[in-house]
Protein backbone atom coordinates (compact mmCIF):
# COMPACT_ATOMS: atom_id res chain seq x y z
CA UNK A 1 0.00 0.00 0.00
CA UNK A 2 2.86 2.30 0.95
CA UNK A 3 4.57 1.61 -2.37
CA UNK A 4 1.37 2.38 -4.25
CA UNK A 5 1.09 5.70 -2.41
CA UNK A 6 4.70 6.57 -3.28
CA UNK A 7 4.11 5.81 -6.96
CA UNK A 8 0.98 7.96 -6.96
CA UNK A 9 2.85 10.83 -5.27
CA UNK A 10 5.62 10.55 -7.89
CA UNK A 11 3.10 10.76 -10.76
CA UNK A 12 1.37 13.70 -9.08
CA UNK A 13 4.61 15.63 -8.61
CA UNK A 14 5.63 14.97 -12.23
CA UNK A 15 2.27 16.21 -13.45
CA UNK A 16 2.92 19.59 -11.80
CA UNK A 17 6.04 20.16 -13.91
CA UNK A 18 4.90 21.93 -17.07
CA UNK A 19 6.65 21.62 -20.43
CA UNK A 20 7.92 25.19 -20.04
CA UNK A 21 9.77 24.23 -16.89
CA UNK A 22 11.68 21.58 -18.81
CA UNK A 23 13.05 24.16 -21.25
CA UNK A 24 16.50 25.61 -20.84
CA UNK A 25 15.33 28.95 -19.49
CA UNK A 26 14.04 27.16 -16.38
CA UNK A 27 16.62 24.42 -15.93
CA UNK A 28 19.68 26.46 -16.90
CA UNK A 29 20.58 23.95 -19.60
CA UNK A 30 20.68 26.68 -22.23
CA UNK A 31 22.60 29.23 -20.18
CA UNK A 32 26.09 30.43 -21.07
CA UNK A 33 28.96 29.04 -18.98
CA UNK A 34 29.82 31.15 -15.93
CA UNK A 35 33.49 31.52 -16.81
CA UNK A 36 35.07 33.38 -19.72
CA UNK A 37 32.11 35.70 -20.22
CA UNK A 38 32.57 38.99 -22.01
CA UNK A 39 30.20 41.76 -22.99
CA UNK A 40 29.64 42.45 -26.68
CA UNK A 41 27.17 45.07 -27.83
CA UNK A 42 25.63 45.16 -24.35
CA UNK A 43 25.07 41.39 -24.16
CA UNK A 44 26.98 38.68 -22.33
CA UNK A 45 28.84 36.41 -24.72
CA UNK A 46 31.27 33.53 -24.70
CA UNK A 47 33.83 32.33 -27.26
CA UNK A 48 32.93 29.37 -29.42
CA UNK A 49 36.12 29.54 -31.46
CA UNK A 50 38.32 32.33 -32.84
CA UNK A 51 36.10 35.32 -33.75
CA UNK A 52 32.91 33.30 -33.06
CA UNK A 53 30.68 34.13 -30.12
CA UNK A 54 27.63 32.61 -28.48
CA UNK A 55 25.28 35.31 -27.15
CA UNK A 56 23.09 35.32 -24.08
CA UNK A 57 19.46 34.40 -24.59
CA UNK A 58 17.64 31.38 -25.98
CA UNK A 59 14.51 31.00 -28.06
CA UNK A 60 11.35 30.08 -26.15
CA UNK A 61 9.43 26.83 -26.36
CA UNK A 62 12.49 24.85 -27.44
CA UNK A 63 12.85 27.06 -30.54
CA UNK A 64 9.29 26.46 -31.80
CA UNK A 65 8.53 30.17 -31.44
CA UNK A 66 8.75 33.57 -33.18
CA UNK A 67 11.37 36.09 -32.03
CA UNK A 68 12.82 39.44 -32.97
CA UNK A 69 16.53 40.32 -32.82
CA UNK A 70 18.05 43.78 -33.04
CA UNK A 71 21.59 44.08 -34.40
CA UNK A 72 23.56 47.29 -34.90
CA UNK A 73 27.08 47.13 -36.27
CA UNK A 74 29.70 48.91 -38.35
CA UNK A 75 30.42 47.44 -41.76
CA UNK A 76 33.42 49.06 -43.40
CA UNK A 77 34.40 48.00 -46.92
CA UNK A 78 36.03 44.53 -47.15
CA UNK A 79 34.45 43.44 -43.85
CA UNK A 80 31.68 40.96 -43.27
CA UNK A 81 29.73 39.75 -40.26
CA UNK A 82 27.78 36.53 -39.88
CA UNK A 83 24.90 36.11 -37.42
CA UNK A 84 23.46 32.75 -36.38
CA UNK A 85 19.86 32.35 -35.19
CA UNK A 86 18.05 29.30 -33.75
CA UNK A 87 21.42 27.56 -33.88
CA UNK A 88 23.31 25.08 -31.68
CA UNK A 89 25.69 26.05 -28.86
CA UNK A 90 28.49 25.42 -31.39
CA UNK A 91 26.82 27.79 -33.89
CA UNK A 92 25.99 24.89 -36.18
CA UNK A 93 22.67 24.51 -37.98
CA UNK A 94 19.85 27.02 -37.70
CA UNK A 95 19.88 30.09 -39.90
CA UNK A 96 23.01 31.97 -40.91
CA UNK A 97 22.90 35.62 -42.07
CA UNK A 98 26.15 36.90 -43.63
CA UNK A 99 26.25 40.67 -44.23
CA UNK A 100 28.79 42.17 -46.60
CA UNK A 101 28.90 45.29 -48.71
CA UNK A 102 29.43 46.22 -52.32
CA UNK A 103 30.27 49.93 -52.42
CA UNK A 104 27.46 51.50 -50.38
CA UNK A 105 25.03 48.62 -50.75
CA UNK A 106 24.33 46.02 -48.08
CA UNK A 107 24.35 42.42 -49.28
CA UNK A 108 22.79 39.55 -47.31
CA UNK A 109 23.53 35.90 -47.91
CA UNK A 110 21.10 33.82 -45.87
CA UNK A 111 21.33 30.08 -45.27
CA UNK A 112 18.87 27.78 -43.56
CA UNK A 113 18.61 23.99 -43.58
CA UNK A 114 20.79 23.67 -46.68
CA UNK A 115 19.05 26.39 -48.71
CA UNK A 116 20.71 29.73 -49.38
CA UNK A 117 19.54 33.04 -50.80
CA UNK A 118 21.61 36.13 -51.64
CA UNK A 119 20.13 39.59 -52.06
CA UNK A 120 21.22 43.21 -52.10
CA UNK A 121 19.06 44.89 -49.49
CA UNK A 122 17.55 47.83 -51.31
CA UNK A 123 16.31 50.99 -49.64
CA UNK A 124 19.25 50.81 -47.31
CA UNK A 125 22.28 53.11 -47.40
CA UNK A 126 25.70 52.36 -45.91
CA UNK A 127 27.07 55.87 -46.30
CA UNK A 128 28.04 56.12 -42.61
CA UNK A 129 29.20 52.45 -42.40
CA UNK A 130 26.47 51.67 -39.86
CA UNK A 131 23.91 48.89 -40.21
CA UNK A 132 20.97 48.95 -37.81
CA UNK A 133 18.49 46.12 -38.36
CA UNK A 134 15.47 44.55 -36.73
CA UNK A 135 15.09 40.88 -37.68
CA UNK A 136 12.06 38.62 -37.18
CA UNK A 137 12.34 34.85 -37.46
CA UNK A 138 8.99 33.06 -37.24
CA UNK A 139 9.91 29.49 -36.43
CA UNK A 140 6.42 28.28 -35.62
CA UNK A 141 5.16 27.57 -39.14
CA UNK A 142 5.81 24.68 -41.50
CA UNK A 143 8.63 26.70 -43.07
CA UNK A 144 10.52 29.38 -41.12
CA UNK A 145 9.53 32.91 -42.19
CA UNK A 146 12.16 35.70 -42.15
CA UNK A 147 11.56 39.45 -42.16
CA UNK A 148 14.13 42.25 -41.89
CA UNK A 149 13.48 45.94 -41.32
CA UNK A 150 15.63 49.01 -41.05
CA UNK A 151 15.57 49.41 -37.24
CA UNK A 152 14.38 52.97 -37.70
CA UNK A 153 11.38 51.74 -39.69
CA UNK A 154 9.10 51.53 -41.53
CA UNK A 155 7.80 48.19 -40.21
CA UNK A 156 5.49 46.81 -42.86
CA UNK A 157 4.79 43.08 -42.82
CA UNK A 158 2.38 42.66 -45.71
CA UNK A 159 3.35 40.13 -48.37
CA UNK A 160 4.54 42.85 -50.73
CA UNK A 161 6.49 44.78 -48.07
CA UNK A 162 9.92 44.36 -49.65
CA UNK A 163 8.55 45.63 -52.98
CA UNK A 164 6.61 48.50 -51.46
CA UNK A 165 9.33 49.62 -49.01
CA UNK A 166 7.71 48.48 -45.75
CA UNK A 167 10.53 45.99 -45.08
CA UNK A 168 13.90 45.28 -46.64
CA UNK A 169 13.77 41.47 -46.73
CA UNK A 170 10.90 38.97 -46.71
CA UNK A 171 11.30 35.24 -47.31
CA UNK A 172 7.71 35.21 -48.65
CA UNK A 173 9.19 36.83 -51.79
CA UNK A 174 10.84 33.56 -52.78
CA UNK A 175 8.64 31.15 -50.81
CA UNK A 176 6.74 30.06 -53.92
CA UNK A 177 9.78 29.02 -55.96
CA UNK A 178 12.54 28.22 -53.58
CA UNK A 179 11.68 28.29 -49.91
CA UNK A 180 9.07 25.51 -49.98
CA UNK A 181 9.97 22.64 -47.69
CA UNK A 182 12.86 24.41 -45.94
CA UNK A 183 11.25 23.46 -42.63
CA UNK A 184 11.83 24.87 -39.17
CA UNK A 185 15.14 25.71 -37.54
CA UNK A 186 16.32 23.26 -34.91
CA UNK A 187 18.36 25.27 -32.41
CA UNK A 188 17.63 27.77 -29.64
CA UNK A 189 20.87 29.79 -29.42
CA UNK A 190 22.15 32.81 -31.29
CA UNK A 191 25.59 34.24 -31.93
CA UNK A 192 27.88 35.79 -34.51
CA UNK A 193 31.18 35.38 -36.28
CA UNK A 194 33.46 38.30 -37.14
CA UNK A 195 35.34 41.20 -35.64
CA UNK A 196 33.58 41.91 -32.33
CA UNK A 197 34.78 45.52 -32.33
CA UNK A 198 32.35 46.15 -35.21
CA UNK A 199 29.35 45.35 -32.99
CA UNK A 200 27.58 48.43 -31.61
CA UNK A 201 24.55 46.87 -29.91
CA UNK A 202 22.66 43.57 -29.74
CA UNK A 203 19.24 42.69 -28.35
CA UNK A 204 17.43 39.38 -28.40
CA UNK A 205 15.58 37.12 -28.44
CA UNK A 206 12.70 39.61 -28.13
CA UNK A 207 9.01 39.31 -28.82
CA UNK A 208 8.46 39.14 -32.59
CA UNK A 209 7.45 42.45 -34.16
CA UNK A 210 5.12 40.82 -36.65
CA UNK A 211 2.74 37.87 -36.52
CA UNK A 212 2.62 37.52 -40.30
Amino acid sequence: MNNMLKIMMLFLSLSFISCGQLMGDKTGANDLPEIGLKTIGGLEATDVEADSYLLKGTASNGGYFSHNFKVKFKLPKEEELTFFFYTSSKLQGGSKFTFSRVENELVLEMEANGKSHKKTLENFSLEDDTVNLSIDLHNDHTDVHLLIWNAEGPFGDQEECSFEGGCIYNSEDFAFDYWLGVGRLNGVYWGFKGDKSLILSLEGPLEALSDA
Binding site: F65, H141, F176
Partner: protein, 196 residues
Protein backbone atom coordinates in the same frame (compact mmCIF):
# COMPACT_ATOMS: atom_id res chain seq x y z
CA UNK B 1 -10.96 6.80 -85.79
CA UNK B 2 -14.25 8.57 -85.13
CA UNK B 3 -13.78 7.98 -81.39
CA UNK B 4 -10.28 9.45 -81.43
CA UNK B 5 -11.58 12.50 -83.29
CA UNK B 6 -14.36 12.93 -80.72
CA UNK B 7 -11.90 12.63 -77.81
CA UNK B 8 -9.59 15.21 -79.40
CA UNK B 9 -12.56 17.51 -79.94
CA UNK B 10 -13.59 17.13 -76.28
CA UNK B 11 -10.06 17.92 -75.09
CA UNK B 12 -9.92 20.94 -77.40
CA UNK B 13 -13.30 22.13 -76.08
CA UNK B 14 -12.22 21.71 -72.46
CA UNK B 15 -9.03 23.64 -73.10
CA UNK B 16 -10.91 26.36 -74.96
CA UNK B 17 -13.38 26.63 -72.07
CA UNK B 18 -10.62 26.74 -69.48
CA UNK B 19 -8.61 29.25 -71.49
CA UNK B 20 -11.48 31.72 -71.51
CA UNK B 21 -11.97 31.40 -67.78
CA UNK B 22 -9.91 32.04 -64.68
CA UNK B 23 -9.70 31.01 -61.04
CA UNK B 24 -12.29 33.71 -60.32
CA UNK B 25 -14.80 31.58 -62.25
CA UNK B 26 -13.81 28.50 -60.26
CA UNK B 27 -14.48 30.49 -57.07
CA UNK B 28 -17.82 31.83 -58.34
CA UNK B 29 -18.95 28.32 -59.29
CA UNK B 30 -17.88 27.02 -55.86
CA UNK B 31 -19.78 29.81 -54.14
CA UNK B 32 -22.94 29.09 -56.14
CA UNK B 33 -22.67 25.32 -55.47
CA UNK B 34 -22.20 25.87 -51.74
CA UNK B 35 -25.24 28.15 -51.68
CA UNK B 36 -27.20 25.35 -53.35
CA UNK B 37 -25.95 22.79 -50.84
CA UNK B 38 -27.04 25.09 -47.97
CA UNK B 39 -30.59 24.95 -49.26
CA UNK B 40 -30.55 21.16 -48.95
CA UNK B 41 -28.28 18.81 -47.11
CA UNK B 42 -25.71 21.10 -45.49
CA UNK B 43 -25.54 24.15 -43.24
CA UNK B 44 -22.79 26.79 -43.14
CA UNK B 45 -21.30 25.03 -40.11
CA UNK B 46 -21.22 21.62 -41.75
CA UNK B 47 -19.38 22.49 -44.97
CA UNK B 48 -15.98 20.86 -44.50
CA UNK B 49 -14.30 21.20 -47.89
CA UNK B 50 -14.85 21.82 -51.58
CA UNK B 51 -13.03 21.43 -54.87
CA UNK B 52 -13.72 23.32 -58.08
CA UNK B 53 -12.33 22.07 -61.43
CA UNK B 54 -12.78 23.01 -65.08
CA UNK B 55 -14.26 20.23 -67.23
CA UNK B 56 -15.71 19.92 -70.73
CA UNK B 57 -19.04 21.44 -69.78
CA UNK B 58 -17.91 24.24 -67.51
CA UNK B 59 -16.99 23.80 -63.86
CA UNK B 60 -17.42 20.74 -61.67
CA UNK B 61 -17.70 21.44 -57.93
CA UNK B 62 -17.46 18.80 -55.23
CA UNK B 63 -18.65 19.72 -51.74
CA UNK B 64 -17.91 17.65 -48.63
CA UNK B 65 -19.93 17.83 -45.40
CA UNK B 66 -18.85 16.91 -41.86
CA UNK B 67 -21.01 13.78 -41.86
CA UNK B 68 -19.27 12.60 -45.04
CA UNK B 69 -21.93 14.02 -47.35
CA UNK B 70 -20.33 14.05 -50.81
CA UNK B 71 -22.18 16.33 -53.25
CA UNK B 72 -21.25 17.06 -56.84
CA UNK B 73 -22.46 20.01 -58.91
CA UNK B 74 -22.07 20.85 -62.59
CA UNK B 75 -21.92 24.61 -63.18
CA UNK B 76 -22.43 26.48 -66.41
CA UNK B 77 -21.95 30.18 -67.01
CA UNK B 78 -25.10 31.94 -68.18
CA UNK B 79 -25.01 35.72 -68.71
CA UNK B 80 -21.86 35.92 -66.60
CA UNK B 81 -23.62 34.14 -63.70
CA UNK B 82 -23.05 30.51 -62.77
CA UNK B 83 -25.96 28.11 -62.65
CA UNK B 84 -25.13 24.93 -60.76
CA UNK B 85 -27.11 21.73 -60.59
CA UNK B 86 -26.53 18.79 -58.26
CA UNK B 87 -25.52 15.83 -60.39
CA UNK B 88 -24.65 13.20 -57.87
CA UNK B 89 -24.38 12.60 -54.15
CA UNK B 90 -22.98 9.96 -51.86
CA UNK B 91 -23.28 9.66 -48.10
CA UNK B 92 -20.32 7.86 -46.59
CA UNK B 93 -19.36 6.88 -43.07
CA UNK B 94 -15.90 8.37 -42.67
CA UNK B 95 -14.90 10.13 -39.47
CA UNK B 96 -12.94 13.35 -39.91
CA UNK B 97 -10.57 14.43 -37.16
CA UNK B 98 -9.31 17.88 -36.12
CA UNK B 99 -12.08 19.78 -37.86
CA UNK B 100 -12.59 23.25 -36.37
CA UNK B 101 -16.10 24.58 -36.01
CA UNK B 102 -15.76 27.14 -38.81
CA UNK B 103 -18.47 28.22 -41.18
CA UNK B 104 -18.30 28.20 -44.95
CA UNK B 105 -18.04 32.02 -45.06
CA UNK B 106 -14.77 31.84 -43.07
CA UNK B 107 -13.40 29.19 -45.45
CA UNK B 108 -14.50 31.25 -48.44
CA UNK B 109 -12.79 34.40 -47.13
CA UNK B 110 -9.58 32.48 -46.31
CA UNK B 111 -9.46 30.87 -49.75
CA UNK B 112 -10.05 34.26 -51.43
CA UNK B 113 -7.03 35.72 -49.61
CA UNK B 114 -5.00 32.64 -50.60
CA UNK B 115 -5.97 33.09 -54.25
CA UNK B 116 -5.19 36.80 -54.06
CA UNK B 117 -1.71 35.97 -52.73
CA UNK B 118 -1.23 33.49 -55.58
CA UNK B 119 -2.44 36.09 -58.12
CA UNK B 120 0.15 38.63 -56.90
CA UNK B 121 2.92 36.03 -57.15
CA UNK B 122 1.86 35.09 -60.68
CA UNK B 123 1.57 38.73 -61.73
CA UNK B 124 5.22 39.26 -60.79
CA UNK B 125 6.05 36.29 -63.03
CA UNK B 126 3.98 37.61 -65.93
CA UNK B 127 0.97 35.30 -65.58
CA UNK B 128 -2.62 35.68 -64.46
CA UNK B 129 -5.28 33.45 -62.92
CA UNK B 130 -6.14 31.80 -66.26
CA UNK B 131 -3.35 29.28 -65.56
CA UNK B 132 -5.39 27.75 -62.71
CA UNK B 133 -7.17 24.51 -63.53
CA UNK B 134 -8.52 23.59 -60.12
CA UNK B 135 -8.60 24.65 -56.47
CA UNK B 136 -9.54 22.88 -53.26
CA UNK B 137 -10.33 24.30 -49.82
CA UNK B 138 -10.58 22.71 -46.37
CA UNK B 139 -10.20 23.57 -42.69
CA UNK B 140 -7.94 22.03 -40.08
CA UNK B 141 -7.46 22.63 -36.39
CA UNK B 142 -3.77 22.87 -35.63
CA UNK B 143 -1.91 25.14 -33.22
CA UNK B 144 0.86 26.86 -35.19
CA UNK B 145 2.58 27.94 -31.98
CA UNK B 146 1.04 31.35 -31.53
CA UNK B 147 -2.42 30.37 -30.45
CA UNK B 148 -3.81 30.02 -33.95
CA UNK B 149 -5.95 26.99 -34.41
CA UNK B 150 -8.37 27.75 -37.19
CA UNK B 151 -6.52 27.11 -40.41
CA UNK B 152 -7.88 27.34 -43.92
CA UNK B 153 -5.90 25.33 -46.45
CA UNK B 154 -6.14 26.00 -50.18
CA UNK B 155 -4.58 23.80 -52.82
CA UNK B 156 -4.17 25.43 -56.24
CA UNK B 157 -3.43 23.34 -59.34
CA UNK B 158 -2.07 25.31 -62.27
CA UNK B 159 0.01 25.03 -65.41
CA UNK B 160 3.09 27.06 -66.32
CA UNK B 161 5.10 26.67 -69.56
CA UNK B 162 7.43 24.35 -67.59
CA UNK B 163 4.55 22.02 -66.76
CA UNK B 164 1.79 21.30 -64.27
CA UNK B 165 2.25 22.19 -60.62
CA UNK B 166 0.33 22.50 -57.40
CA UNK B 167 0.88 24.78 -54.44
CA UNK B 168 -0.63 24.74 -50.95
CA UNK B 169 -1.51 27.97 -49.12
CA UNK B 170 -2.14 28.00 -45.37
CA UNK B 171 -4.22 30.94 -44.13
CA UNK B 172 -5.18 31.80 -40.57
CA UNK B 173 -6.40 34.69 -38.47
CA UNK B 174 -4.34 35.74 -35.47
CA UNK B 175 -6.01 36.41 -32.13
CA UNK B 176 -8.06 39.60 -32.06
CA UNK B 177 -7.41 40.27 -35.72
CA UNK B 178 -9.77 39.75 -38.63
CA UNK B 179 -7.07 39.81 -41.29
CA UNK B 180 -5.92 36.52 -42.80
CA UNK B 181 -2.20 35.81 -42.95
CA UNK B 182 -1.20 33.26 -45.59
CA UNK B 183 1.94 31.22 -46.23
CA UNK B 184 2.94 28.97 -49.11
CA UNK B 185 3.61 25.36 -48.27
CA UNK B 186 4.97 22.40 -50.20
CA UNK B 187 2.50 19.99 -48.58
CA UNK B 188 -1.01 20.33 -47.23
CA UNK B 189 -1.99 18.96 -43.84
CA UNK B 190 -5.19 16.98 -43.37
CA UNK B 191 -6.21 17.22 -47.03
CA UNK B 192 -9.56 15.42 -47.36
CA UNK B 193 -10.54 13.32 -50.35
CA UNK B 194 -13.94 13.24 -52.05
CA UNK B 195 -15.76 9.98 -52.64
CA UNK B 196 -17.35 11.10 -55.90
Amino acid sequence: MKKIFLILLMIANANAYANEMTANDLMSAASESINNSLQGTLTKKTVLAWESTFNNDGVEVKVLGRQDQNLMYQCDSENSQFVCEEEDSFFGQRTFENIPNLDSDFLMRGSQVAMSKFEKTMKRKGFDLSIVSSYKVWSLELDQGHGTKDNVWTRIDFELPQGKREIYVLCHVHGGDSKFTCHYSKFGEGEPSFQL
